[in-house]
């Protein structure tokens, strides 16, 4: 049995609209007075609250606490058990709002909260997918933040005109088509397909992606054929690099967002990663949301190694 943990406590604090945001504060498991007091903040997990999709934030925060860090996880307004509401919208529209910085003001409130509870020598922001974007945009804005570790950050804006069927990179699509190819000779699979039990859109996407290797692009309107880049990402990147804040981008190496990051950002601006003003970690076999505990452990170990290298604590 996992030992009883007495080093996590529930916290709450208001945002600028007076809504109560709720979360959990992790304390370092081994109190070491000689260490600098440092904290990592995880905001939203995609469009989920502070535990993160697949409970990733909880597992990662507990690892970081074992590594000597304070960690604050909190749910922004409208998520988890925090006050506030997110009005009905299309799922993609919610992603767009997050990519435009929906939760940045709440991260500002969280930073203010941690400054009130203790004198931390540094603040690191991290998060996965939409949480990565929230952390990255906030890191550009908040002078109190010195380090940022976005995991699976989207450089594209979600958009109703985005062709999601072809968003998969070709090599990932090939893998998926291979699965369906094997099922060609399975009577059970044919029965599922013919009785409409199969998820047709899941099958269709990779097959289409095979023939359109460009990946995600806008399929209609004036911008047809272009990538739906997120201008906020580029603006934030410029500000962060200009102020010499330390950045570790993390991607799972099977994450389609890694492919987009390379194509739209990395290869466009930097001949090689070593020329870039940031560090990069690719987690072997990991997917976009780090859905398996093994993936979460690998990434958090890379985070710890990077933070120790930069003498964060």
């Amino acid at each position: 049995m996992e030992p009883q943990r007495k080093i996590e406590s529930v916290v709450q604090f208001p945002n600028e609209r007076g809504e109560v945001l709720r979360g959990v504060l992790h304390f370092p498991e081994h109190g070491d007075e000689t260490r600098k007091k440092t904290i990592v903040i995880f905001p939203n997990g995609g469009v989920m609250g502070c535990e993160g999709d697949y409970r990733a934030h909880v597992a990662m925060a507990r690892h970081l606490a074992r590594g000597g860090y304070y960690v604050l996880r909190f749910s922004p307004s409208g998520l988890g058990y925090s006050d506030g509401d997110i009005p009905n919208c299309r799922q993609k529209n919610l992603y767009v709002q997050v990519e435009y910085g929906l939760f940045v003001a709440d991260i500002r409130a969280a930073v203010q909260f941690v400054q009130n509870i203790g004198s931390f020598s540094s603040i690191t922001l991290s998060g996965i997918c939409g949480g990565a974007m929230s952390a990255f945009l906030a890191a550009a804005e908040l002078k109190e933040v010195q380090y940022v570790i976005p995991i699976g950050i989207p450089v594209l804006l979600d958009n109703d005109d985005l062709d999601y069927d072809t968003r998969l990179p070709a090599d990932v699509a090939k893998q998926m088509v291979k699965i369906y190819h094997e099922k060609l000779f399975s009577p059970k699979s044919w029965v599922r397909l013919l009785t409409k039990k199969s998820d047709i859109s899941r099958i269709k996407g990779p097959i289409l992606a095979l023939f359109r290797q460009e990946g995600a692009y806008i399929s209609k309107g004036n911008e047809k054929g272009k990538f739906a880049e997120n201008p906020n990402f580029f603006k934030a990147a410029r500000r962060i690099f200009k102020t010499r804040k330390k950045v570790l981008f993390v991607f799972g190496d099977t994450d389609g967002f890694w492919w987009e990051f390379q194509r739209i950002f990395l290869k466009r601006y930097y001949a090689e990663v070593k020329d870039a003003p940031f560090d990069l970690y690719l987690s072997p076999g990991a997917n976009h949301m780090l859905s398996l505990p093994e993936m979460q452990v690998d990434v958090v170990q890379a985070m710890l190694a990077w933070m120790n290298k930069h003498n964060v604590s």
Binding site: R22, Y81, R90, Q91, S291
Partner: protein, 300 residues
Amino acid sequence: MNIENFFHDTGNGRIFCTLISPQNPTEECVIYFAPLFEERMWAQRIAFNFARDMAAKGSHATLVFDYHGYGESDGNAEDFTLARCRDDVISLHVLMQTRGYSRFVWWGIRTGCAIALGTIPAHAPINSFILWAPVLGLKDYIYESLRANIAAQMMLFKKVMAKRDIILAELVQYGQCFRDGYVLNHVDGYRFGGIFYQEILNMNHSKDLSYLAFPSLVVEVIPPRAEKGKLMARTESTAETAPAQQNIQYRKVSEREFWLIGRDYSQRAESVYRATLEWLDAQASGSKTGEASLWNRSER
């Protein structure tokens, strides 16, 4: 209303709880059983908002808790078992009784209904039971859900390392299925353990709920036409298989499958809320007798 997050120490690990209660005291307490796996995440805010509605109305407080190994609670998902959950729920009942609650409604969503039914102890102090889009056949549900696991193996290993039957056989025999550094007995990344799976195999998978001794509401969710037919989305029809029972009311409502990611995002499920509130009101205006017997700690 008041919203309070806290950790409850059961003596065998901490359970994370959120109590959403009306401004004025009430004796009525709803205990919420969340779905397992990733459906839990998508249903979270739907459940939270219903709890807020009940608290704003002043009728019921709601205790939302994370199972052992889930959410903010201690432990890992593979250590979750029905036996442990039963102990945790008994401990939570005792806690709520010390806080002045004496009438209890159990409320489950999807697989949370099966968990609730699987953990009901003898002489449970429950006054009524609400089941939303219940999944009662956990064995079939897990088998079906493992389809996505096979696709994930292809992405991870470039081939299928263990098919569903192998995963489950090894789980029963060895307590886990392990290949190339990865545990494969998981649904949506949430591991499930051998003891839990054995408990599932021993469960009553009947959709007949007529054995329930207290008033119960089953809300079946019928998705709008455009949303129908998604993998893993089907709601089991308990109404068709169950004989008419005075204790049990079945309601079919049109609502999107809020426990899944879909085209539309909403934090509310108005049709389900309405049907449930109507039923709760009818319960309240009916007999208020049969107050739940208090559990003593010695009965745990």
